[in-house]
Point group: D2
Chain length 361, copies 4
Amino acid sequence: MAPPQAPIKVGVLGATGTVGQRFIELLATHPYFEIHALGASARSAGKKYVDATKWKLVSQIPESVKGMIVQECKPEPFAECGVVFSGLDHDVAGDIEVAFRAAGLNVFSNAKNYRRDPLVPLMVPLVNPDHISVVRHQQQELKLSKGYIVCNANCSTTAIVVPLKALEVAFGPLKTVMVTTLQAISGAGYPGVSSLDILGNVVPYIGGEEEKIEWETKKILGGVNPDNSFDLHASAPLKISANCNRVPVIDGHLACVSVEFSGKKPSVAEIEKAFTDFVTEPQTLGTPSAPKRAIVLHDAPDRPQPRLDCDLEKGACVSVGRVRECGVLDAKFVCLLDNVRLGAATSSVINAEVAAEKGYL
Amino acid sequence: MAPPQAPIKVGVLGATGTVGQRFIELLATHPYFEIHALGASARSAGKKYVDATKWKLVSQIPESVKGMIVQECKPEPFAECGVVFSGLDHDVAGDIEVAFRAAGLNVFSNAKNYRRDPLVPLMVPLVNPDHISVVRHQQQELKLSKGYIVCNANCSTTAIVVPLKALEVAFGPLKTVMVTTLQAISGAGYPGVSSLDILGNVVPYIGGEEEKIEWETKKILGGVNPDNSFDLHASAPLKISANCNRVPVIDGHLACVSVEFSGKKPSVAEIEKAFTDFVTEPQTLGTPSAPKRAIVLHDAPDRPQPRLDCDLEKGACVSVGRVRECGVLDAKFVCLLDNVRLGAATSSVINAEVAAEKGYL
Amino acid sequence: MAPPQAPIKVGVLGATGTVGQRFIELLATHPYFEIHALGASARSAGKKYVDATKWKLVSQIPESVKGMIVQECKPEPFAECGVVFSGLDHDVAGDIEVAFRAAGLNVFSNAKNYRRDPLVPLMVPLVNPDHISVVRHQQQELKLSKGYIVCNANCSTTAIVVPLKALEVAFGPLKTVMVTTLQAISGAGYPGVSSLDILGNVVPYIGGEEEKIEWETKKILGGVNPDNSFDLHASAPLKISANCNRVPVIDGHLACVSVEFSGKKPSVAEIEKAFTDFVTEPQTLGTPSAPKRAIVLHDAPDRPQPRLDCDLEKGACVSVGRVRECGVLDAKFVCLLDNVRLGAATSSVINAEVAAEKGYL
Amino acid sequence: MAPPQAPIKVGVLGATGTVGQRFIELLATHPYFEIHALGASARSAGKKYVDATKWKLVSQIPESVKGMIVQECKPEPFAECGVVFSGLDHDVAGDIEVAFRAAGLNVFSNAKNYRRDPLVPLMVPLVNPDHISVVRHQQQELKLSKGYIVCNANCSTTAIVVPLKALEVAFGPLKTVMVTTLQAISGAGYPGVSSLDILGNVVPYIGGEEEKIEWETKKILGGVNPDNSFDLHASAPLKISANCNRVPVIDGHLACVSVEFSGKKPSVAEIEKAFTDFVTEPQTLGTPSAPKRAIVLHDAPDRPQPRLDCDLEKGACVSVGRVRECGVLDAKFVCLLDNVRLGAATSSVINAEVAAEKGYL
């Protein structure tokens, strides 16, 4: 699809943090979007971006943003932005994001604050981009003529809903899902996890994470009613149980998943075909950050692995491997997500690309 | 219980390897046993132990074995041994262990070769020490007047059967078990896992391990018939599904376990009580290497952790934490085993202590 | 030597922190000392120790302190203490420690605040326990009838001054020292180093550390004048250059050291003998926490290693290995220190034991 | 400079190993070279490359080589190659490389076998590309009409000779160099270092490495006589002392270096300028794999770091930071090399590019 005639100006909130840095990395050379404003805390405001930021990515800080002056997170400097990406911490995201929406701005947020809000779409671009229509319901209920909030999902949820969606597309609603995650330290931000807690160790607990997976999965796999309100996974209530572990890995959430189908149990070969056949709307729309393959299926018995496979499709796909029968449920497999790209900033960016293509900007 | 009047002479096969080193560490100051002979490959035979061995433990090599001359793994130099512990690699253990049994020796083996043999007890000392009686059946079937083989279980199996047994003792047979393991590199021996494969990474595959857990658990939790032959978990066939992952941890296998009971679902508090109330036969017999607590229950939401909790009870217990309801099965919890102690050498040593106490040596 | 007739009451400041926990671990079963009072921040004061502390050691929290009520860091509750150990952070240690001294208490501090104070002895117990006499000069100058401050050295300094002292004892003053350290994360406290900074990485910088090594080494290796004031390493001014690196190791600072002697260059064998012959005053006094061997010399070409060798002598010695000629200076070697024991709390405790033996308590 | 009119056919020996994989990664899309033949052990010969190889790189295996049939390492299938790159292990490289040279082939080797050979140039492309002329001397002495061997240096040597050369270019011969390295595990190949040896640990020893640094540095920094024979660093004999450590880092050798100049001691600013001003012959020739910057100078006090900075200039530069005065020698700094790229395959490839440009192919 053709890019917009003129670049769309965008802003980044929380621009100096780890998610904000990922946004900037993705947006600096984006064919649709142009970075127009950067927001951060009062401590950083007024400084050049290069001076306000301890850049932590392997890629270099883009030249085009080095000299930009960081703003406070108030709507005015962002007034011309067609999209405002939020990489804010949840302790400040709540008030700032509603203030931006109230000012008529379109907020695409990686923060968790409004994920459970029944008016806010929880969009994983490779799963439920059709949920973008919920923003019309949001505006109607809140009596807004413009501006809305769209959230992307928690990173560990994203890792599993992509293959689960592929299975539902091929075989109908799932009945049961059991998942145990092995999650990377970058999922906790910076400074995040103390090295004394995780070096040579595993922590079998991530506060609130299991609940997020269990709750968000249902919202994402659910449908949208004709009036653009949500219709949660109600027809075949999905049972989910999650165990979350932190492991000493830099990037890449791995999950061991077992599933039970409502209908006839497919064979391993049929499941593998469902994964490789899976095509998503951003791909058919041809949005610039959509992966070529939404799911990459691995043959080797010991793959996917976080260190080796996160970089596939520039971190915008989910890797799946080890599809086999489960001794308890119907089938099991391993999946892997780049938690800092498709699990965070990349999802928000593709969500905005979808919104652009479908006329929501 | 009183120790034997004179120390029982014991041998160690595979004495220079990682499991062999653990045997020596445990036996060097043992109140029942006295190291009498050390066996290793032809390459090491004839050398002093200290010269034949690259000692890899944090503890120092015991003075008493430094000067012992390593033997080849043939029965003659072990003829006076009441127990022969085998830490042999599976590629040589098969022939050597039967040769030792044929010579009338009692072999307590950590190797996997005879674990599935229907005549060989697969003993986890905190779970099924009563299976020692199967050696009588073994001798009868093989027409041996003396000598037998006893195996201990795979380390990841051991991690879960201890809490599963505690639940079966309290609430009757289990119906379903789902387990995902996060296993330490020491489980693969030395040199074992290449650092390039595991540093900052997770490998979601350990060859044969899932099958071992699924198969061994049933044998261990099964009963013994009046004629001392096995009665596998037949009355209430247990369904098990296992996912095994290698993680960059030195020692300590962690497992996320979900269970379903055949009978009435107990509460979280009742399950926790079942764990803390669990007392095993080595404890009641008072054998010297038995832990004070077979299961240590942790309160903190983020425990047990391999690096912090493996050393509890000198590595001879299983740690359990995070007992809670499961959204799919009845309940779930996390458990942790010191894979190089209770998961390997310590189990064999307690098995031999039990045999001593019960008159099988 | 005989322990004191009645146990000496001691207090611990910063009792809930990582160094404080180490003090408590060492003191809970100490033959001379009895924990009498625990001090921490106002946030912890009034709580039971077990509730105020997130215990982070592999050993279990001692039963005897679990129920003790944590105090604020004011002198009154510590009035009966013969020794007050300080594990305080440097941002609060300054004022609190002088207040305790002013109240007539003897403070043995692990904090850095007064290490450069010309009136305060900087004591590494295996190097310069004779510097304890400087407290008389301190009291005289400050017109105190009782109470003083004794500091122990920075952990990385301690790692090198022990072998340097052994060399000076054997061969006279050193002329030049070059050192490059590889330091463990526990040296930075908790939460300390972010896992994102150090996992699979090396950070070639530790703020202020190189200056500490260069400055403290001279003070520690210097002498004491007849009036108990310091006489810095003046006769043969020592040239030192240090490079400090943080590495992903839990415990254990390793250092690569090259030295040049003022006098005749000794052979490698003579240097090795100087290390093994080195006997220190705490050892001759027989204080309870003194190591059996002050320096443990390793034969293997790839030792000492942090993970394997820190536990020697319960962490109270320095390991040395790889003594060989240097292509630039006279000789080079590798040394290793348990930074959380001899590098911190253990040094303070032995310093206090020395003070007890020599009549300074 | 213009690329050659037709691509030059090249071969890769040891193609299935870790260095061989790096060669293939670099050559698959190379503007001068075209992969024509792949050699490996007899075990792999006859198989498709994709089947013979356990690909270990984060990048995907290039499509163009997947179906190529692996050959035995004999000259015939390589007869049309203008360059043969050798990533062979040293235990087989010796015989094979001379056989290839005897067959008239130009071997660019990463193996260590002929590095000390007085007839073989030891070329670090950013340091001594002029040494290529030594191959004429080699051919003359061996009476070869065509074919020669060129070696690149050991990875840790390469890390330091690049900045040392920059200093010699600016300030004349160096007098003294002291270096302590912290080397990545990938430097030891695959499987290489056991994870049990290095996880959470440091090994202060790499067999032969210190000697390599001390010896190779002199050969590389030395000159070439008018008859194309070597003239070792003789006029101002360089004194070097090296300490080598293995650290748990995937890629990236870091070194702490102190230097003493023969002439006047330059200021820190002058040294920094010498690093940033350093331009090398491959850069002026414009060879395709030459870095834009040979040395990248870092401002931040805690850089360079292996995990963050190895990827600069696609791994073809050396990073330098922390330039400061040394308390013993004149100045000190930290440098970092991507040991698997500029430290291995990339050096060989640039060496061959230089040879192409200068008419040696």
